[in-house]
């Protein structure tokens, strides 16, 4: 192994002398530490808030048409009776009651109706649990009929229908999450699937040295937007390829699937949240495409660009570490920061919009920030592309790109 030592030393020293080596090995653990800390604190805060909410005594009233609920149980949980359904709902709307439960004559045949104060998509389940628990406890005390036996022995015998209210208005349920939430899934899939193509769309041309000839036939902006639009078209093809088999499967085999009948019909298609999700999605897609194209244009090779690609991906999906806080406690500082910081805003805003906890002013501010950032990034991308695409062997500094007249 003649000269092995020399080769090892040369390779080791030249790698270790690079700033990028140290940045890459220090940045990731640092970011993981920061995000880990954030997610831990967020989870703890959210968990404490939830626990407190769950342990707080509920103000509950019932309308028992089944005659199963015992006086002992009512006393144990400080439950009052209300004979009029409308009155019970009205008290929930006004906030006097936390929960109003209507047990039908036969709870195994009709769903138990629950009207309650909205405490968030992921905490509303406590109302259904409580209604089930109360019914089962009462039925257990005196099993005198097959209905009571079924309630005690079969946990799926009783179904519930929950309607919650927020500020006197009917709150949106899980059905309302699906349509706007799809944009988050779509965004995630597109970036994960297309990210490398976005990056390669400029680095490949640079590595092929083909860009200069093209720039005499089209402007850098035209070329850039041509690339972005073609990437979007490619993305649509990918989506179609993914969705078509699912749709075909659902149409032909849907009856035998685990999905409840009428599931699609129940999806809330309110235009507001869908429009907001679509706007965030489009702005975010352009923002990240621009960002990745800029990286591709500035870096001399695909290999070097790939290092920064990882960081961009990481910064984009950091909010997923704090998803619990984002969904259940949007008032936390970290959620606010994530909502308005350019790289974390898309995922955070899409999550919050789907969960229905995004205020109007936050929507407006978030969209404004994304628009400004998207325009800035696209402008920078066009400029970086114009100058950086012709630098075949070295990385351009931002000063060089933006210092040119």
């Amino acid at each position: 192994m003649h000269n092995l030592r020399t080769v090892i030393l040369f390779e080791f020293i030249r790698a270790i002398k690079k700033k990028s080596f140290w940045v890459s090995i220090l940045a990731i653990p640092l970011l993981v530490g920061v995000v880990g800390g954030i997610s831990f604190l967020s989870a703890q805060a959210a968990s404490n808030a939830q626990e407190a909410a769950l342990q707080a005594p509920l103000k509950v009233a019932i309308l028992d048409q089944s005659g199963i609920i015992t006086e002992v149980a009512k006393k144990q949980f400080s439950i009052s009776d209300i004979e009029n359904k409308e009155e019970g709902i009205s008290r929930v709307k006004s906030g006097v009651l936390d929960e109003f439960i209507i047990y039908p004559e036969d709870p195994t045949k009709e769903p138990v109706q629950i009207y309650a104060k909205d405490v968030g998509l992921f905490n509303n389940g406590k109302y259904e649990s409580f209604a089930q628990k109360l019914l089962r406890l009462s039925a257990e005390s005196e099993i005198t009929s097959p209905v009571r036996l079924a309630i005690v022995n079969d946990s799926s015998a009783v179904t519930t229908a929950l309607i919650t209210y927020e500020n006197g208005e009917k709150a949106k349920g899980f059905e309302s999450v699906i349509a706007p939430g799809l944009f988050l899934v779509l965004f995630f899939l597109l970036i994960m699937l297309m990210g490398n193509e976005m990056l390669a769309s400029t680095t490949e041309e640079k590595e092929n040295r083909v860009i200069e000839m093209i720039l005499t036939t089209v402007t850098s902006q035209t070329l850039l937007f041509g690339k972005i639009i073609s990437l979007i078209l490619l993305a649509l093809v990918r989506i179609a390829v993914m969705l078509v088999p699912i749709i075909i499967g659902f149409v032909y085999f849907g009856k035998g699937s685990a999905l409840p009948a009428g599931w699609l019909v129940n999806i809330d298609l309110s235009p507001g949240p869908i429009a907001i999700a679509a706007a965030i999605f489009v702005l975010a897609f352009f923002l990240f495409t621009g960002l990745l194209v800029t990286i591709g244009a500035v870096m001399p090779t695909g290999k070097e660009a790939a290092r920064f690609f990882g960081l961009v991906m990481f910064s984009m999906f950091i909010p997923l570490y704090a998803v619990q806080a984002i969904l259940s406690d949007p008032s936390q500082i970290i959620v606010k920061v994530f909502s308005f910081f350019p790289t974390t805003a898309p995922v955070t805003l899409l999550l919050r919009n789907a969960a229905g906890n995004l205020a109007s002013w936050e929507t407006a501010l978030g969209l404004f920030i994304l628009t400004v950032c998207m325009m800035t990034v696209l402008f920078s991308a066009a400029r970086a592309f114009r100058y950086g695409a012709l630098e075949y062997s070295r990385r351009l500094s931002f000063r060089e790109i933006f210092g040119k007249s």
């Binding site: 092929n208 040295r209 200069e212 720039l215 005499t216 036939t217 402007t219 012709l390 007249s405």
Partner: protein, 308 residues
Amino acid sequence: MNSESIVAVENFQMKFGKRTVIEDLSFEVFSGEVFGFLGSNGSGKTTTIRTLLGIYEPTRGKLLINGKRFDSSESAFLGYLPEERGLYKKESVLDTMVYFGELKNLSRTEARKTSLEYLDRVGLADKAHKQLGSLSGGQQQKIQLGVTMMNHPALLILDEPTKGLDPVNRRLMVDMVNERVKDGATVILVTHHMDEVERLCDRVMLLKDGFRRLYGTLEEIRKTYGGNTVRVRFSGTLPERTDLYRVRSREGMSGAELLVADNVESEAVLKFLANMPGIKLASFEAGRASLEDLFVDIYSENEKTSYA
């Protein structure tokens, strides 16, 4: 060639950050001429061309083609072969040529027809459906030159078009450029081959340190900067410098190239050396400084390839 200016550059300056690449450059290229754009590596030729073609914005000055700033919508007018060679290596030869043809406003059918004709001409017809990356470097270069000229542009800018080609293909390329010139095209030729310059160019410009150092017809340049030379073989001791000449270069112990002083005839040098004691002339050949000599001298800071 006529005196109608097709390219006009006035007081062009280009800075990249704090680095000034072009200080102050002005020149014109006339319609129908072959204009040699010379300069060593890194002298700013490519930057000038990129700025002329609107790829870069100048820091100062005007760079006009047909009296206005070039923009890509006029791509049909232009054929540009950049210094950096490259095409889409994973695409087929024909698809790539057709794509560029369409970018230069040819219809798809026209682009396809022209491409196939060109491939046939340069002996690459059988490669039409091959991946570009599978072709040799010289073959790829032929394709790139074909892409440059396929729309029969009125202005051709060729940055070292024969770089890396073997003598046969080099001649083929030069012939094709000549055909375009005969059809009335204007050519800006960047090259380091002075024989190509002497054979093809009507006028030349030499760039150094961001300034124009030579500019004019070959004859004008030789007359102004070149001076007469004399190549001698001798025995004895040849004086390094006299009122009539100075030694430009030595060729061993018994040969030298002399630069003749301004307003001095070569015959006077012959007479002087023939009558000089201690030196015996074996041969004497009068000539003029070659373009390559001029180029080397200017880049070696000698300023003028002449006696001064």
